[in-house]
Symmetry: C2
Subunit: 141 residues, 2 copies
DNA sequence: ACAATCTTTACAATCATTCTAAACTACTTG
DNA sequence: CAAGTAGTTTAGAATGATTGTAAAGATTGT
């Protein structure tokens, strides 16, 4: 993502293109699927020599989420995750390295879902497939 | 759950039957499915006129979980939940009142799950079906 | 009863996150 | 460009859930 397209993206969403937002937009919206926490993103920008406060990371992640540029994922580890894939989808969660991998909604079929209780409607379905390392074969070691 | 059966249950799991553990076991293992947080359980025992510290609630919930009497559920709201249903199962989560309802694993069918990445195995699958209140019919109001 | 071990508890500490208010920056208008 | 206004950033305090610490208290085996 170029500086110009970051500016445009921010303007389109009524966010002033500040130095901080430009840096975060450049990191996040490079076209690849990204899953970040506030801390992981803070570390990434620090590694690039850019200084910006953790409070700004939180502010910006929330603003990007509010305008629909990011989606929040809860229930993975202890922190909130933010996802550049805003389509409805599911996740592999690798517990050995805390990595998330997208699973397109279309590649899982959920059937026989029970009816919602009276007066309630289904708001969404979240599937998390936990992954761990295949154990080494104990019989041959 | 009677005092005697609570004592037995605790002894079977190598936990000394203290006043505090007896009270919590009586509340939790009454045969019905229960989903509690440390705070909600603390409030419940306080309502029964029993005094015990929040630290003990946490200690006891973890001990019960370690011996297989409870299962921990993460990703619901901001706090950890503990579940007396230790079978593999899924949940409705009613976002309007923070209530959990069990969905037996057998009543959901998940198919076409993508293959795990190389060297990884599936450790488990968690499904959370978010519920909200059915909106009032806006066309007739 | 005694000693050993385990348990409870008050309180401090931690961690992710949010709040606050003052300093700073961007945008608009003259 | 200058000034005014509104929006933004930031350090640091506050919050809320949870965990750690260490001393006091309870349970168990002898
Ligand atoms: Mn958009
Ligand atoms: Mn058991
Ligand atoms: Zn994703
Ligand atoms: Zn359950």
């Amino acid at each position: 993502m170029t500086a110009n397209s970051a500016t445009d993206l921010l303007r389109e969403h009524n966010l002033r293109p500040t130095r901080q937002r430009m840096a975060l937009a450049a990191l996040l919206f490079d076209g690849t699927a990204r899953h970040v926490t506030a801390e992981s993103l803070h570390d990434q920008v620090k590694d690039m020599g850019i200084t910006l406060s953790l409070a700004t990371i939180y502010n910006t992640l929330h603003q990007f989420t509010n305008v629909g540029l990011l989606k929040e994922i809860k229930g993975i580890g202890d922190a909130k995750w933010f996802d550049t894939n805003i389509d409805q989808h599911h996740h592999f969660f690798d517990i050995s390295n805390d990595h998330l991998i997208d699973i397109p909604a279309s590649s899982i079929t959920i059937s026989h879902l029970p009816a919602s209780p009276d007066g309630k409607v289904i708001d969404g379905v979240d599937v998390i497939v936990r992954l761990s390392d295949k154990s080494p074969d104990k019989s041959s070691g």
